[in-house]
């Protein structure tokens, strides 16, 4: 699997896109999706709510387990991916594309995110 170069990554296995007009997109990585197995339910933060970097903001349920979703960035949620809410398998089939989770108006630049190469090395360990 390859992690897109243009994204940044958290050690909790979320990805964050570069902000466009101050709004960035959040999802979970292919590595995380593979480790979870078939995702059957996602609970996402509500549009308009505030998320904080490193804090839980939702959960992902798979066949075997439930995992917390951590926000990689601080800001206000502008949109959640209703397609993923309706069809959580998008997280498995297209984690970096159609399986994105929510968009955030970034109020604080995240400090401790990894580059694609750093994240690849982190998950290989």
């Amino acid at each position: 699997m390859s992690n897109p170069q243009q994204l940044r990554y958290s050690k909790e296995h979320e990805w964050l896109s570069a902000a466009e007009d101050g709004v960035a997109t959040v999802g979970i990585t292919e590595h995380a999706a593979n480790a979870l197995g078939d995702v059957v339910f996602v609970q996402l933060p509500e549009a308009g709510s505030t998320v904080s970097a490193g804090e839980t903001c939702g959960e992902l349920e798979s066949t075997k387990s439930v995992s917390d979703l951590y926000s990689p960035v601080t800001g206000e949620v502008t949109e959640v991916n209703e397609d993923v809410v309706n069809d959580p398998s998008l997280v498995n089939s297209a984690p970096f594309e159609g399986g994105w989770l929510f968009k955030v108006r970034v109020t604080e630049e995240p400090a401790e995110l990894l580059s694609a190469d750093e994240y690849t090395a982190f998950t290989a360990g």
């Binding site: 593979n34 197995g37 078939d38 059957v40 349920e61 066949t63 075997k64 439930v66």
Partner: protein, 375 residues
């Protein structure tokens, strides 16, 4: 995370095959076993509609031989094992003297004086130790055959056709819970019509050195009908839909078979004493006078999944506990097995929920199993 190899884990004869198939492996009772090869949901549905291939070599085989093998197993186990015909199998349990369940077992009668006991991987040593101890004074030998067998299962509606193309054995004459020695793809095998999926299917006990050849032959034979390799993850959801108990979840040492709703496996009418008889007789009458918690099925109205250990609630009070839970691929909803107070156990009971991390999610009480195949 997904494919960590640990030196302490035991590996089956099919380990290299699993790795070449890209399986996600998991530590299961000290064995490095395939959890899934791709999507566990797809594997589950393949078994329900076509066929699936499983490596179950972690299961614990114990052979019992000798002139008093039947009398010994009647003493050591709660079932009437002496009444099992040669070539037939029986679901049974081994209990402690206090009636607590040590394990659930399938016992195959291979010959007049030879049985094979198949224990759960997590309990194989406990069962072996208990049988060895209980064999004292009987003309019977208990042999640890865990390393003598690999176990490959073919499960699903296409499994008879797949197997027929590889054997001359009389599969049509082989009933559910029967087993016969034969040859499959040139490999000597004990062919058993058993499984843990709720589908028709077979379990093939072979020498470990023959496991890879048999796996490949089954894979090729099943190619045209949609057979896929399946991991333990879908095995768990398959057995859950079929309402089959799993040791460590629905069955534990703190429960008797009567507490688990499986009192029918205890055969008081058999000849002679058996380990646990007195305690089990008390448990049976206790269960009649004062019904214990009942194992029920729960079906979610929402999409959040109940997990083992979550509280079952009604009217703000805890009335039971989830023992197994998962999203059901067949029903398309989360399901669970749970022990609940008898007052709330009737199918259709109103107002029952599961406490899912602080939120009480509504659940429907249903009779088990969730899924029954059309015959």
């Amino acid at each position: 995370m997904s494919s960590t190899k640990s030196a302490e884990l035991r590996h089956t004869a099919l380990d290299a095959v699993h790795r070449s198939l890209g399986a996600t492996m998991t530590d299961f009772a000290g064995w490095d076993m395939p959890l899934r090869y791709g999507s566990e949901r797809d594997e589950h549905l393949a078994v329900r509609t076509r066929a699936g291939l499983f490596d179950l070599s972690h299961m614990g085989e114990i052979t019992v031989t000798g002139a008093e093998a039947a009398a010994f197993l009647n003493f050591a186990l709660v079932g009437n094992i002496a009444s099992v015909g040669v070539g037939r199998a029986r679901y049974t349990m081994i209990c402690r003297a206090d009636g607590g369940i040590l394990d659930d077992l399938i016992v195959y009668r291979l010959a007049e004086t030879e049985y094979m006991v198949v224990a759960n991987a997590s309990n194989a040593q406990v069962v072996l130790d208990a049988l060895t101890e209980r064999a004292e004074g009987f003309a019977a030998e208990v042999r640890d055959d865990r390393d003598a067998y690999a176990l490959i299962a073919v499960q699903g509606p296409q499994s008879p056709g797949i197997l027929k193309s590889l054997t001359d054995a009389d599969l049509d004459g082989l009933k559910y819970y029967a087993g016969l020695p034969g040859t499959v793809a040139g490999v000597p095998a004990l062919i058993a019509r058993t499984g843990y999926t709720g589908e028709d299917g077979f379990e093939l006990f072979v020498k470990p050195e023959h496991a890879v050849a048999l796996w490949q032959a089954l894979t090729e034979a099943g190619e045209g009908v949609g057979l896929v390799p399946c991991g333990l993850s879908c095995r768990d959801t398959l057995r859950l839909e079929a309402g089959m108990p799993l040791y460590g979840h629905e069955l534990t040492t703190s429960l008797t078979p009567f507490d688990a709703g499986l009192g029918r496996v205890v055969k008081f009418e058999k000849e002679g004493d058996f380990v646990g008889r007195e305690a089990l007789a008390q448990a049976a009458s206790r269960a009649q006078e004062n019904p214990p918690r009942v194992l029920v099925g729960l079906v979610a109205e929402g999409r959040r999944v109940p997990r083992a250990g979550y509280a079952v609630v009604a009217g703000g009070a805890v009335i039971g506990e989830v023992t197994s839970g998962a999203p059901s691929p067949t029903l398309g909803k989360p399901i669970a097995m749970a022990y609940v107070d008898a007052a709330h156990a009737a199918p259709g009971t109103e107002g029952v929920g599961v406490d899912i991390r602080g939120t009480h999610e509504p659940y429907q009480v249903v009779a088990l199993p969730f899924y029954k195949r059309q015959k």
